[in-house]
Symmetry: C2
Subunit: 83 residues, 2 copies
């Protein structure tokens, strides 16, 4: 099972990297973007564990290391290993 973890900044938190990308896209001619927010995608391959176990381990990884709960939200999606 693969746990795909999506880490995003909470909505009130400033995102300077997103702002920079926004300006760069505008300079390239994409002028109708209202906002750009940057996040992280982390794919954890747990091999042949159950879906529930993968979700539990993914959550533990986020809590222990991957996400900063003060400024970030995270979401976990479990996929079978085909992808």
């Amino acid at each position: 099972m693969i746990a795909e973890i999506y880490i995003t900044l909470k909505s009130g938190i400033l995102d300077p990297q997103g702002k920079t990308v926004h300006h760069a896209l505008e300079n390239l001619g994409l002028e109708n973007i209202e906002e750009v927010r940057m996040g992280k995608l982390i794919r954890l391959d747990f091999g042949s564990v159950s879906k529930e176990k993968a979700l539990e381990l993914g959550d533990e990884a986020c809590k222990k290391l991957l996400a900063n709960p003060v400024i970030e939200d995270y979401e976990i999606q479990i996929q079978s290993a085909g992808k």
Copy 2:
């Protein structure tokens, strides 16, 4: 419409950041992970454009700036602006 862009390294490409995270998680006691791959999540808010237009603009943003086609794959998902 919001275009969520998921950028991942192609499968043959080395991912030193993923390896580092993998080791860190092992040191924290998560020992049953087979592989960690890092990617990027970029959320582009296009305001009130159509779904098709958001997909087209998201694709253009990836091609012009966000993704490096030599080493990265990208995937775009369109969401209505509620989220």
